[in-house]
């Protein structure tokens, strides 16, 4: 092999190696970070034609309506738990921290977290809709036909 060809061969091998490594790395990182979206009934009854249920410890996203009256706050910390519903069963969400501005009972929200029991999720992120017009499309689809409730936040009893 003459030196020029050898050089080219080396370059080609390096490129193939580089491309392969990149693709492998990307796929590996992707696999770890794809979070499936469930509605509460899909979570409990299974999703899709095969009724696939998530396993305990799986990271997932869930979207539904906050069941009115289900929000329970811890007195001494910022722990809060509430139930989500779409059409069928309810799922409990536990969260620690400050809920978003537009979090209300009876509103659609999306939570991201880890499944700890068949119908319980420890959320690390809770997202609410951004304004009156906007609702996560996934939630809108899941809760078609359910009536929204007006906010009942009292501004006058501060201090």
């Amino acid at each position: 092999m003459n030196p020029r060809r050898k050089k080219r061969l080396l370059a080609v091998v390096a490129i193939i190696f580089g491309v392969g490594a990149t693709i492998g790395l990307v796929l590996y990182a992707l696999q770890e970070n794809i979070n499936l979206f469930y509605t509460p009934s899909e979570l409990v009854e299974g999703k899709g034609p095969n009724k696939e249920k998530p396993h305990i410890g799986q990271k997932l996203r869930i979207g539904g309506m906050v069941v009115p009256g289900s929000v329970v706050r811890d007195e001494s910390s910022l722990k809060v738990s509430f139930k989500l519903i779409d059409k069928g069963p309810m799922v409990t969400i536990n969260y620690q921290g400050i809920l978003p501005d537009l979090f209300r009972e009876g509103q659609g929200i999306v939570a991201q977290g880890v499944l700890v029991k068949a119908n319980e999720i420890d959320a690390f992120e809770v997202l609410a809709k951004h304004d009156e017009e906007y609702m996560p499309a996934e939630v809108a689809e899941a809760v078609k036909g359910i009536k929204h409730e007006k906010p009942t936040y009292n501004l006058d009893n501060g201090n």
Binding site: V26, N35, L36, R73, L78, Q96, H130, A137, N159
Partner: protein, 651 residues
């Protein structure tokens, strides 16, 4: 009356842009100089009428004309006047009109500042810009007119501007970003014109470069301001969410960054010609793709406005024409292009080539992460999301070789280098960077993760090598003053851009590694300590603004029992939409931000509060501003201001 005039004015602009598309391109094709000469005045006329149209919308908004549907939905009579103006781009229709103003504005500026170009090229550039103008105006007139009326039943009060958008950052963020997006259409037009002409020599690169740099500068500034807005307005201290809309702006930025490095190589060395053209096409296509993603409603985010599938289809079709047309022309003409320069492996050419590879790989990763969930959903496989860790991990991995190369690049010469002459400089820079980083981090922090050290060291490495190169280049002249003078603005632009990125890297790394966050429940009088600061909650007081009311949590920040500042973290409720907004209180500093957000009211007079200590977070935006300055600096370069007398048509 005024809104109808606005619509009419836009129709006239559309007619002019159709002419702007046809006359010069036909003239250039047939060698008709008179047709080509019509281009500049058509371009300016188009701009004037688009501007009038925009003025009509601003007028309608300022005068609270709620018979105009757009104003009724995006403004209200209680809105302060400056937000009334910004509300004209707070919604979909108005934002597209602003886009048109930018598009027509760039076209007019190109028309006025391109006298030095041969007529054939000038006419073709303006013709392609005219074509793009036709596309966007057709879209506005047919599908998204902001001038539609709500007659005869119109509301007496508007629906108000989304409170999230009532922020100074939001006043300037969209115009800057659009300046960048649309500015890339100029690079695109230059590339297409050069392909049509068949002359892809380095003069083409020389002409395209200042335009690309300016557009890129605006894009950088737009993204930076957007990040700062998200930080100050969304209330949870984040500055980048890998949200599809953010990704949509990052992709053109990455490709445009590759483009301007590639352009400089093409200009100076006559290599990478066809690649440069491809990048110019890709950069603008990605800004169109971004528009498609945002406007079509296939994604949901803060930025997604009321969406309409027809609109998405129109933009998708337009995107197909632009990308398809551009690439076909490229395929037809690219075989004529030949590289002139020769170079060895250890050369600046190869360094820049690698820079391009890394930037394109980064773009592909963002593209994959953005489009995959959409494709997945459209295929009926269910909805998925791709988490931030994916992007963070990929960018962290790419950063290492990219930053090492970035430090070495400026020290390399064109064509070839002797390794023995460079290794001392590199070794010295590496040692200095490692020592400086160790001294910096170990004096400030107890725990240092390897990744934090590496990333910080890379930022320092970029600065050190830049200084080493600068010192070497300045000292070869007799006096320092002369040395500085001789360097030229393009060189300074590079220094600014690279140092700016080093600031961004350091800021992102340190704030990610050492931010401390606490969500606490506090009663008046309670004190919480976070790092070296104590936060004393002094209770809440009611507040009242022009169009909102709410509470401000008053927190006194102390350090060693001395008062540092008093922060007012607000929780607002906007009168019209009844939306709640957290208005975070920030005590900004060069090396740290203290960030406070008021949460909800708990029982027994307690409130939840979120307290952050964010070290070096400002460096990120400071870096962004430095980088964008690099883009504007090139405008002052004499090389791009030379006026040639060549005004002959040579078709």
């Amino acid at each position: 009356m005024i809104p109808e005039l606005g619509y009419f004015s836009l129709t006239l602009a559309m007619v002019l842009s159709v002419l702007l598309c046809i006359f010069p391109l036909w003239g250039a094709h047939t060698g008709n100089l008179r047709l080509m000469r019509a281009a500049p005045s058509l371009a300016i006329g188009q701009f004037v009428f688009v501007l009038l149209s925009f003025a009509a919308l601003v007028y309608a908004s300022l005068t609270d004309d709620f018979t105009v549907s757009y104003v009724a939905y995006h403004s209200s009579s209680t809105l302060p006047w400056y937000y009334k103006i910004t509300s004209t781009w707070g919604g979909h229709e108005g934002a597209i009109l602003l886009w048109l103003v930018m598009q027509a504005g760039w076209t007019a500026v190109v028309a006025m500042r391109s006298q030095s170009l041969p007529w054939v090229l000038r006419a073709r550039v303006l013709g392609v810009l005219g074509f793009l103008g036709v596309g966007f105006m057709l879209y506005t007139l047919l599908m998204s007119s902001p001038f539609e009326r709500l007659l005869p039943y119109f509301p007496v009060e508007g629906r108000d501007l989304n409170p999230l958008l009532q922020d100074p950052g939001m006043i300037i963020h969209p115009p800057l970003l659009y300046m960048g997006y649309v500015g890339l259409s100029v690079s695109f037009s230059f590339a297409i014109a050069a392909l049509l002409t068949g002359k892809l020599d380095n003069t083409w690169a020389k002409w395209s470069r200042p335009w690309t740099m300016t557009a890129w500068g605006f894009l950088t500034l737009g993204i930076t301001i957007g990040s700062w807005w998200a930080y100050s307005e969304l209330g949870w201290g984040g500055w980048w969410f890998w949200d599809p809309v953010e990704n949509a702006s990052l992709m053109p930025w990455l490709v445009a960054t590759a483009l301007l490095h590639s352009l400089s190589t093409t200009e100076k060395r006559g290599v990478f010609k066809s690649w440069t053209v491809l990048l110019a096409i890709a950069a603008f296509s990605l800004s169109l793709l971004g528009t498609f993603i945002v406007r079509s409603g296939i994604i949901v985010s803060v930025h997604a406005f009321a969406s309409d599938p027809n609109r998405g289809m129109f933009i998708l079709a337009f995107l197909a024409i632009v990308v398809g047309g551009g690439l076909s022309l490229y395929a037809l003409r690219v075989s004529q292009v030949k590289s002139e320069g020769r170079y060895k492996f250890a050369s600046r050419e190869v360094a820049l080539w690698l820079n391009n590879i890394f930037l394109v790989v980064a773009t592909l990763i963002v593209l994959l992460g953005t489009l995959l969930p959409m494709i997945h959903k459209e295929l009926g496989l269910g909805s998925i999301s791709i988490g931030e860790p994916f992007f963070n991990k990929m960018f962290a991995i790419l950063l290492v070789p990219f930053a090492i190369l970035m430090g070495m690049g400026p020290l390399l010469r064109w064509k070839q280098n002797k390794w023995s002459m460079l290794q001392n400089k590199f070794a010295l820079s590496a040692v200095v960077s490692l020592v400086a980083t160790a001294a910096w981090l170990y004096s400030s922090y107890d725990v240092i993760a390897p990744i934090t050290f590496i990333a910080t060291a890379l930022a320092v490495w970029i600065v050190v090598t830049t200084v080493v190169d600068l010192a070497a280049k300045v000292t070869i002249h007799k006096t320092l003053g002369e040395g500085f003078k001789r360097l030229g603005l393009s060189y300074w632009a590079m220094v600014l851009g690279h140092v700016g990125l080093a600031f961004v890297i350091a800021g992102v790394t340190l704030t990610s590694a050492y931010s401390v966050e606490r969500d606490v429940s506090m009663k008046p009088g309670d004190t919480v300590a976070l790092n070296e600061y104590q936060y004393r909650f002094d209770g809440v007081k009611p507040i009242r603004g022009a169009n909102y009311s709410g509470h401000a949590g008053v927190v006194t920040v102390l350090k060693n029992d001395k008062q540092v500042t008093v922060l007012h973290a607000e929780k607002r409720r906007y009168d019209i939409g009844m939306q709640f907004m957290t208005e975070a209180a920030v005590d900004a500093g060069f090396t740290r931000d203290l960030y406070l957000a008021l949460g909800e009211q708990l029982s027994q007079g307690a409130w939840s509060l979120r307290i952050y200590h964010k070290p070096y977070v400002r460096w990120m935006w400071l870096g962004g501003i430095l980088i964008s300055l690099a883009g504007f600096l090139v405008l002052g370069d004499k090389r791009y201001r030379q006026k040639s007398t060549k005004q002959e048509a040579s078709a």
